[in-house]
Amino acid sequence: MTGYSNDHIASLVRPDQVHRDVYEDPDLFDLEMERIFGRSWVYVGHESQVPEPGDFFCTRVGLQPVVMSRHSDGTVYVVYNRCAHRGVKVVNEECGNAGRFMCMYHGWTYDTNGDLDFVTQSEGYPDFEFDKVEHGMGRVARWESHHGFVFANLSPDGPGLRDWLGENSDFLDDVAVSAPDGEVEVTGGVHRYLYHGNWKMQVENLIDMYHPAYSHESSSAKGGQQFSRREGDKGGIQFFEKRGKVKSMDGLGTHALPNGHTWQGGLPPVENMSEDHRAYVALLEEKHGPNRTREILIKKRHNVIFYPNMAMQELNPHIRVIRPLAVDRTEIFIYPVKLKGAPEKMFRDQLINLNRTHSPTSLVQTDDVEAFARAQEGMMTSGNEWVLLARTGPQESLESGRIRTTGTSEEGMRNHYRAWLKYMCADRPE
């Protein structure tokens, strides 16, 4: 345990600034793993990654290795990836199928729901009572799913998943309904990239519509390299008007929800006349009728953040998982989301577009990663210990608890820090 009092932690967050320690201090990072990743719902994976009994998928909650598996009864479980005996990580492949999980060290086996199955040479424990759950790999306190998106919570306390999701659960509904079969699957591989910066920089970047014209000038400005990111786009997103004046992204809007969740308004629609798109629209119309289909096709949100570790985009639908490694090292995993029942060609185009925007070799994400690493380095200076999150725009509070404001407002990031404080100081007397 570190010696940080809640008062000290609270002093690091001002209404419009945060102290650089929140990005640079390894002790605070340890506390975040315990108090944010240990108290919040954290995205684990999608049920379609473990379709058959015995299928497993290994990931982490914070720094803790977990296994999401489909048990022989068809139910999905999330258990710690740890042998009850001597603490050895049991499952060592990222994904696969197993009848049982066997620990390499002394051969103990576990059922696909993590329960203890068999202790080798058990006559050596004459006085020890084994309980298959207590001496299993250990179930995490809670896990729940919505449209197959599985979230885990290491703490038994706090709201259930749907309450925690709030209006973000509507977004998952919208994603599911945009698939002709009414459901999505995660079967298109994964882009994995690393940056030398704090995990929160990626979270903040996702709600930052102020940076693209500058960070991504080489792939967005006139004279920069235009490329289409979706069918129907003519040459890509323009952030500049005539004479190099930056076009404001304020019109898109920023939405700040309880629990740190945030989203941006959707990009302006484009006319997509491709054969596949028409076939896709026809499939939706067959199921929902033309009016509802028109609604479904309007993308109301761009980046949607499920604070702290996941974000989704409906543009080339994909899940982004933020995986902290250390105070200054973060992994990002990008999973394409397949709209089941849609024409195959749509998914192939989606994969190609994601290669361009989200691969480690991409034309876009690489510049963000550069900004994160330079921020991590720049903040080490002692000249100014505060990071400015003071940008505002006209804003209104809605009944749902959501705040709606302009696209380049930094309200989204201030919203993250309100949640950050709530988790970090949860045991602080009111």
Binding site: T187, G188, G189, V190, H191, R192, Y193, L194, Y195, H196, S215, E217, S218, S219, G223, G224, Q225, Q226, F227, E331, I334, P336, R348, L351, I352, L354, N355, R356, H358, S359, P360, T361, L363, Q365, T366, D367, V369, E370, A371
Partner: protein, 175 residues
């Protein structure tokens, strides 16, 4: 008769040797264009419908089965490299330097002989000032075709790095 046969054998063995040597020389030239940052010239080596593919999974069957580290057709290569020439391509200031080496080259003609299938092993060192030097390596698979002028063109180049499923810092220059 025997003598003539042997001479014929030698002739064809020599022809094979010269052929593989010619392919090797082409590959050496090809990767040197990357190391010399002559990206536009590198792009021009590809046929009009040619492509460059670096899978993201070690046994990825094809670029349509999942995302890839690189999967560029010629128009995409032109966009990629024009971006690298942009004065504010922040993630490449300063730019990466690379050194490609190729070995274990095998080449076989297929079809009417205008098509050549090539396999090779490669290593690419990658250094961007201020960052640790990285070593990438793995297998190349090419399909080459001979142009009317007799030169090789690349119909496809596949580069499988052995750590393709690792978590990578940005990569700017093709393997």
């Amino acid at each position: 008769m025997t003598k003539n046969n042997r001479s014929g054998d030698n002739q064809s063995a020599l022809g094979e040797l010269l052929f593989v040597r010619e392919v090797e020389q082409f590959l050496f030239h090809e990767v040197s264009l990357l190391d010399d940052r002559r990206f536009e010239d590198w792009t021009d080596l590809f046929t009009e419908d040619g492509y460059y593919w670096a899978p993201a999974e070690i046994n990825q069957p094809d670029p349509a089965s999942g995302v890839s580290l690189f999967f560029d057709d010629v128009p995409m290569m032109r966009i990629r490299f024009a971006r690298l020439r942009h004065p504010r391509v922040h993630s490449q200031i300063p730019p990466s330097r690379t050194s490609h080496s190729i070995s274990n080259v095998t080449a076989k003609r297929s079809g009417t002989g205008d098509r050549v299938e090539v396999e090779a092993r490669f290593q690419m060192l990658d250094y961007r000032p201020g960052h640790d030097q990285r070593a990438f390596g793995g297998k190349y698979q090419y399909v080459l075709s001979r142009s009317d002028a007799g030169c090789f063109r690349i119909a496809s180049k596949k580069a499988v790095i052995i750590n393709c499923d690792d978590v990578h810092l940005p990569v700017a220059v093709p393997f």
